[in-house]
């Protein structure tokens, strides 16, 4: 019988129940468990990390350099027909645009969550990112707000999180970064040939390239090996555990305390409340049978879309659990990605390496400055892998000649590989303006395999990010041409944004009327329910969110353990 329960399987009563085991759930479990609380972690997906709870053995991932498994057969991501989501731009579109839109920001459902498939670029946010409600002039249609905690309050937790995950980087290399109390735990790893080429273009244009901060070992660290740059990184959980995902770092440590039980393949379907207190959760066990869990405290960390969905599922016919503010599900944000391609005459083999080794932040911008609109950090990466490459050429060939397949030309393109082996890519992870109308609710008709209504995403971009993207597009192409690329272009935008950086829906703030959670991540409406993932973000910043999600989770957990002095919970450096 397959193992689905991990850690201390004899635990029967729990101080806390954490829903989700990713970047928001694992730091929470670690912090509570090291402080002596008994914790139950419930994860909807299976565990593909053998020995995760066995301290006498190394963790053996079932992940691998396998493009078909990870990118085309949805090994850890959700299936469109079994667990769909629906999409519309606005209520004017009716119930949804298409019954089967496709991948709508589906994050992995597996022990470790989205933190596993990420290539774990882990920059900190800039100090100004926490203050845009104050710094920005009013912009119609947006709901920018200050964070209820600021960079300087979060900084010790950033440092703690960087130590726990093992972040490589070079302090001071990003000229826009905030002050640091500690150096990066390890230096930058090996570079990539394509980054060197693009770096020359950046220098020619006066921009500052720096080694991308990443939770990837550049040296042996925390009993995990240095990365060997296998190339299967973005979208691929690590086969060697060189990536410091919160699963192989914090969740493993949590399980080894003896204070944690992890139940995988268990889907929470309802949170039950009486008055201002959560009393239990209903779930489906690995066989799909109903099961019931009770704890003293409950923490939502299932990612922003699923968090909101669960709160709506928990109050059928009502406004949604914890929604006295009317803000549950609202202010959904994705990073707005502007993607530039550069095709070089020579092979740049961008598929070798950590997907991204360098970036630059000159396009993060300055509030209210029309010459430097707010966008985001720029990742410099390589092209894709062969099956995706083949699909890319298929799109091109069928677009150009829809009624005649040119197999010889297709094969020639695969051999010459202009769309993979000759390509470098720059991606801006731009600030996405929060909007009350961008939201999650339940689709009125579409259900998952268990017959439960699925999440419906209602979302459209604001001129704030659209204009910033348009502003920086020619600058990206300037860089590629200065770097010696033969061709450059901006990739067309998809109907549904491809970003899997998902934020908002349970905004935290200083006032119960305008936010779902208080500054410590606790729901205003309940005395024993918290959120501890990206759902709390009031704004999206222009930097990759993973480190801040995990850091915020540590901060929320520390305040649960010691509300009067949360900083005392931080592990010493």
């Amino acid at each position: 019988m397959r193992k689905t329960v991990y850690g201390n399987t004899s635990l029967a009563s729990f101080d806390a129940l954490v829903i989700g085991s990713g970047a928001g759930g694992s730091p929470m479990a670690y912090t509570l468990a090291k402080s002596g609380l008994k914790v139950l972690v419930i994860e909807a997906g299976p565990c593909h990390l053998d020995n995760l709870d066995d301290g006498t053995k190394a963790v053996v991932p079932r992940f691998s350099n396998d493009e078909l498994k990870l990118e085309h057969r949805n090994f850890i991501e959700t299936d469109n027909r079994i667990e769909p989501r629906t999409w519309r731009n606005s209520e004017a579109d009716g119930d949804r645009i298409d019954a089967l839109t496709g991948n709508v920001q589906a994050l992995p459902k597996t022990v470790g969550g989205g933190c596993l498939h990420a290539d774990l670029k882990t920059p900190r946010f800039q100090p100004m990112d926490f203050q845009l409600g104050t710094l920005l002039d009013p912009i119609a249609g947006t709901s920018f707000a200050d964070w209820p905690i600021q960079y300087d309050e979060l900084e010790p937790y950033y440092a703690w999180c960087e130590r726990l995950m093992g972040v490589q980087g070079q302090a001071g290399a990003n000229p826009f970064e905030g002050p640091r109390s500690t150096p990066f735990p390890m230096p930058p790893g090996a570079g990539m040939y394509g980054s060197t080429l693009v770096g020359a273009g950046l220098a020619a244009q006066g921009y500052t390239m720096f080694p991308y901060p990443m939770a990837v070992n550049s040296v042996a660290y925390d009993n995990r090996p240095p990365c060997n740059d296998c190339g299967f990184c973005s979208g691929y959980p690590c086969p060697t555990n060189a990536k410091g995902s919160t699963a192989v770092t914090m969740l493993r440590k949590a399980l080894l305390t003896g204070n944690v039980q992890l139940q995988a393949e268990t889907r929470v379907v309802r949170i039950n409340a009486t008055g201002g207190t959560i009393t239990s959760v209903d779930a489906l066990d690995p066989a799909g049978q109903p099961i019931h869990f009770v704890a003293d405290r409950y923490i939502l960390a299932a990612s922003p879309i699923e968090d909101a969905r669960l709160l709506f599922l928990s109050d059928p016919g009502g406004p949604g659990l914890g929604n006295s503010s009317g803000m549950v599900g609202r202010n959904l944000m994705f990073h707005y990605q502007t993607i530039a391609l550069g095709i070089f005459d020579q092979r740049v083999h961008g598929y070798r390496g950590r997907t991204v080794a360098h970036g630059f932040a000159d396009f993060r911008g300055v509030p209210n400055n029309p010459d430097k609109p707010l966008a985001g950090i720029v990742e410099i990466s390589g092209g894709g892998l062969p099956i995706s490459e083949a699909q890319f050429y298929t799109q091109i060939l069928t677009m150009l000649r829809p009624n005649k397949w040119d197999g010889a030309l297709f094969k020639k393109m695969m051999r010459q590989s202009p769309g993979r082996d000759h390509v470098m890519v720059m991606v801006i992870q731009a600030e996405d303006a929060p909007q009350l109308t961008n939201r999650v609710d339940l689709d009125p008709a579409v259900v998952d395999l268990d017959g439960l209504p699925v999440a419906r995403v209602t979302y459209q971009n604001h001129a704030f990010e659209l204009d910033a993207g348009t502003f920086y597009e020619p600058k990206l192409m300037d860089i590629f041409m200065a770097a010696g690329a033969r061709h450059t272009a901006i990739a067309p935008r998809d109907t549904v944004p491809q970003s899997q950086h998902i934020m908002g829906t349970l905004r935290f703030g200083s006032a119960a009327a305008t936010s779902v959670c208080d500054p410590n991540g606790k729901f205003w409406d309940f005395d024993n329910l918290w959120a501890s993932d990206g759902s709390l973000f009031p704004t999206s910043s222009g930097y990759n969110p993973t480190l801040t999600i995990a850091t915020l989770s540590l901060r929320v957990a520390a305040a649960i353990v010691d509300p009067a002095s949360p900083d005392s919970v931080i592990d010493p450096a």
Partner: protein
């Protein structure tokens, strides 16, 4: 006698076919009983239309049939071959102390497949077996029912066979191309997808015989546990034949030709980009 790579692959393919035919009660030589003889012949022919043979194998010899049959029959196995195991295949060695390739190879974890959980099983049973053979098809009234993979491929092949006025075996290359181009878009798209997956996925899924698919695109394939860098002391040792931080050694095995460059320039212009 020296064999070309293509001849070698064909020989190995024929040996595999003969072995399978000997082990199976299948009435269709060259297959696992999923397809009838004429379907099998047309499938191989269409696979070569999609990815034609030249000095390197085409779609047929790369294992398109084997790939499709392995997936179509996945749920005949206790452990359906949907997700190959990990973390390593046996194609790359562990590093030596100096960061170079050792002679010590891992066992092939890809060769055994991962047990499906309840949700994955439901998703793949629907994809492979179709709505008729699963208990529940969620949202059937909105999405419609789904035919099995076998049914989708077979019905497309049968329709093509029946639409041809010439026997499949007698069709010239041009006539095969015309026959393929005349099929419904949905069927062509499915077949193109399956041929490409067969050609360029890990060999454990049934295709990419002898890794010739990866050879076509000059791709090293899975690289673990050697990877492309090994930290030795404070230095990252790279693979001389496949460097990480510098250009490839030697001449480009397939430089971009003028016709491909012209195509690129057209696409870039359509996208509003720039050509040097």
């Amino acid at each position: 006698m020296s064999l070309t790579r293509r001849e070698l692959v064909k020989l190995i393919g024929a040996s595999l076919v003969a072995f399978k035919a000997g082990c199976s009660s299948s009435p269709s030589p060259g297959g696992d009983g999923v397809f009838a003889d004429d379907e099998l012949r047309l499938l191989r022919a269409f696979a070569d239309v999609i990815l034609p043979p030249d000095d390197l194998p085409g779609g047929a010899d790369l294992g398109t049939v084997e790939y499709i049959e392995k997936l179509a029959l996945a749920f005949d196995s206790a452990q359906p071959p949907i997700f190959a195991g990990g973390p390593y295949s046996d194609r790359n060695p562990f590093p030596d102390a100096d960061g170079s390739a050792s002679g010590n190879f891992p066992s092939n974890d890809f060769a055994s497949f991962i047990e499906l959980d309840r949700v994955s099983a439901a998703a793949w049973q629907l994809q492979v077996l179709g709505s008729d053979r699963v208990a529940v098809t969620p949202n059937e009234e909105l999405y419609g029912r789904l035919d099995s993979l076998e049914g989708r491929v077979k019905s497309g092949l049968r329709a093509a066979i029946e639409s041809s006025t010439i026997a499949i075996d007698k069709l010239s290359a041009d006539e095969l191309q015309t026959l393929f181009d005349g099929q419904p878009v949905e069927f062509k798209s499915l077949l193109i997808q399956l041929v490409q997956e067969a050609a360029f996925s890990a060999p454990e899924y049934g295709g990419n015989l002898e890794r010739a698919g990866w050879q076509i695109c000059n791709f090293e394939g899975d690289s673990q546990p050697l990877g492309y860098s090994q930290l030795v002391g404070t230095t990252y040792v790279e693979r001389p034949e496949s460097p990480l931080t510098g250009p490839n050694p030697g001449a480009d095995p397939a430089p971009i030709t003028d016709d491909v460059r012209e195509l690129l320039s057209t696409i870039i212009s359509v996208l509003g980009g720039r050509n040097a």
